[in-house]
């Protein structure tokens, strides 16, 4: 997080993490398509080869959150391929919240686990405590055959400390819910850590309403 009091400007970094080809970039593309045009900058894709992210994707969002506060959200994806671990660690630096995009296909279960352990390890390497980082988990690719069933995921999410979302990012389904879910947790966390409510005179519920409104997610977020 970056806070500029004189400019009343808050910059928040959100990172989409997950195994290779789980749909991180597709999540960003879907948000880019759904968000209000005047709140979104261009989706920046840094170096790709064969449709695979080499460095990162970046979607900048910005809006006025009321009370004179200007909010900038930076949505990043990490490169999922195993060999880009150093880059993943760099992109994860300074993350205020993380979406873990898992691949719902049964065959990808191990890859999900490995990527998750790798994320925890990289958070630790960056001097962060994984348990303290706001996190939501998304099971993507719900439209594919041979996936982990809804019942299975629902039963597990009952016991999960972090919210779990289901998505079909290629169709934009569940993408906004995941994003708003993370925004919610991240704001609460930042509020607790930095007392944002007092500093900016912004209640959490009002802030989130502003986020939905300004980004054009009102109907979706409230449904």
């Amino acid at each position: 997080m970056q806070l500029d009091f004189t400019a009343r400007e808050l910059t928040v970094k959100l990172v989409y993490y997950g195994p290779a080809l789980s749909g991180k970039t597709t999540n960003l593309q879907a948000i880019h398509k759904l968000v209000h045009a005047d709140a979104s900058g261009r989706l920046m894709t840094l170096e790709t080869r064969d449709d695979r992210t080499l460095f990162f994707d970046l979607l900048p969002l910005s809006f006025q959150a009321g009370a004179g506060l200007s909010v900038r959200l930076k949505l990043f994806t990490v490169p999922g391929q195993v060999i880009h671990d150093a880059t993943r660690r760099l992109v994860l630096q300074g993350a205020d919240g993380v979406v873990f995009v898992a691949d719902s296909q049964r065959a990808e279960t191990r890859a999900n686990q490995r990527a998750f352990l790798n994320m925890k390890e990289n958070l630790r390497e960056n001097g962060m405590q994984p348990e303290r980082v706001p996190l939501v988990i998304q099971f993507n690719k719900r439209d594919l055959p041979d996936i982990r069933t809804d019942d299975e995921i629902d039963a597990l999410s009952q016991k999960s400390p972090e919210p779990v979302y289901k998505a079909i990012a290629t169709r934009g389904t569940g993408v906004v819910e995941t994003f708003l879910g993370l925004m919610d947790r991240t704001w609460l966390h930042l509020e607790k850590e930095h007392g944002l409510e007092q500093k900016f005179d912004l209640e959490p519920s009002r802030f989130l309403k502003e986020v939905r409104h300004r980004l054009g997610f009102t109907r979706r977020g409230e449904s």
Binding site: Q2, L3, D4, F5, T6, E9, T11, K13, G41, R42, M44, L46, E47, F55, F56, L58, P60, L61, S62, F63, S70, V71, R72, K74, F76, H84, D85, A86, T87, R89, L90, Q93, G94
Partner: protein, 468 residues
Amino acid sequence: MTQGQTSAIDLTLGDLARLEEVVDREALSDVCRSFFELFGLSIRVLSKDGTLLADVHQEREICQYVNRLPAGAAACARTVAQVKTATPDGAPVLLPCFTGGRYRVEPIRYQGRQVGRFVIGPYLPAETRAVPRSLLEIDPGVVDDDALRALAEMPRVRPETAGRLAAHFRKVVDLLLFSSHRAHLTSEMHVASVREGYRELAEKTANLQQAYNRLKELDKLKSNFLATVSHELRTPLTSIIGYSEMLEAGIAGDLAGEQREFVETIRRKGDHLLALITSLLDLSKLEQGALRLQREPLSPKALLDEIVTTFMPRAREKSVSISVDAADDLPAVDGDPVRLRQVLSNLADNAMKFTPEGGSIMLRAVETDLVGGEDGEMGMVLMAAARPAIRFEVADSGAGMKQEELTRIFDAFYQVDGSSTREHGGAGLGLSIVKRLVNAHEGEIHVTSEVDVGTTFSVTLPAVETDL
């Protein structure tokens, strides 16, 4: 974190620190020039702190005209200063000039932040018909007709057109910024990734080095332990053997048939145990590099003859023929006589063990070259200097070995026949000691073998060099 932004934060957030760090000024100037050529309007781009990044303008006739008048020049300077410092906050700012012209100052925003501004103008509002009062009154020298003529040359723009032109230019600059920023981030990220990868590797290498050092230390401890234990075992064993020999010799009185047999067994097994302990001690000395060779010129043929003499009784007993094939005038070998005898005896002993009745053992010595360097190594033909050498061969007509066994026979404690009930005794140390002894002589040892045909060990050792 509030003010002093470091490049680390820029990279973490993917932010643009300063317009001028990212945007190529030449490219920006080209865009401005093209805008000017197309619409005939002067345009300037400034960074957030007011640095002029691109400037394509034409001095208008009216400007030249008022600048010739003292009060006009002063008023012009005031207007220009105003334009330069105007900071539009979100929306564009329109600044009027006393000549009736307009300047349009537009913010350049990028990723939710204002990073600079651009100025279009001066231009005349399209509806201007007469010389404005502000111009006529600025200096007593202003002449209405002259001013009107000069104003006629100024480009005229309708307000909505000005807005559209500004929007167009904003889009072009935004695209330029985006592309430049992306290129900038890519290269920054590339360098950062390489650096991070290097840091990680260096850390791992340091850890491995530490583990390696620790293992080396442990290995040394193990060798020391082996040496100490062997030494401590040897002392009481020497007494056991000594007293058995005395008993055998009848020093303590005559022994009855079975008693003698038992004492003989004790002595024989004692000798065997002593040989094993001695090999352990040798191995640990060799591993520690503590073995010192006493080298001298040795005759290859004499060495082999000696071995044959030693093994002849066993060969006869087993009905195995053993012979030497070596010329008398071979160059002398440069070696430690005790250790070379150990090497050759060990090989002959092996050959004896594995050659069945009626078989043969041949000990050979021939002149050869010893070529240093690994086979197939790059530039080996240049790097390796050949030295005169002697190759000893111990060939038997025994059972032979399989290819996969050949690669392991020089490992310590390896036994070709690993079973507990194996036919041939030994600790599996013989060949590993032989190899180490040969290496200590800067020599080489090789083995070739064929199942049911026999095995040949060849040991190549440097000869004494006479012509150097």
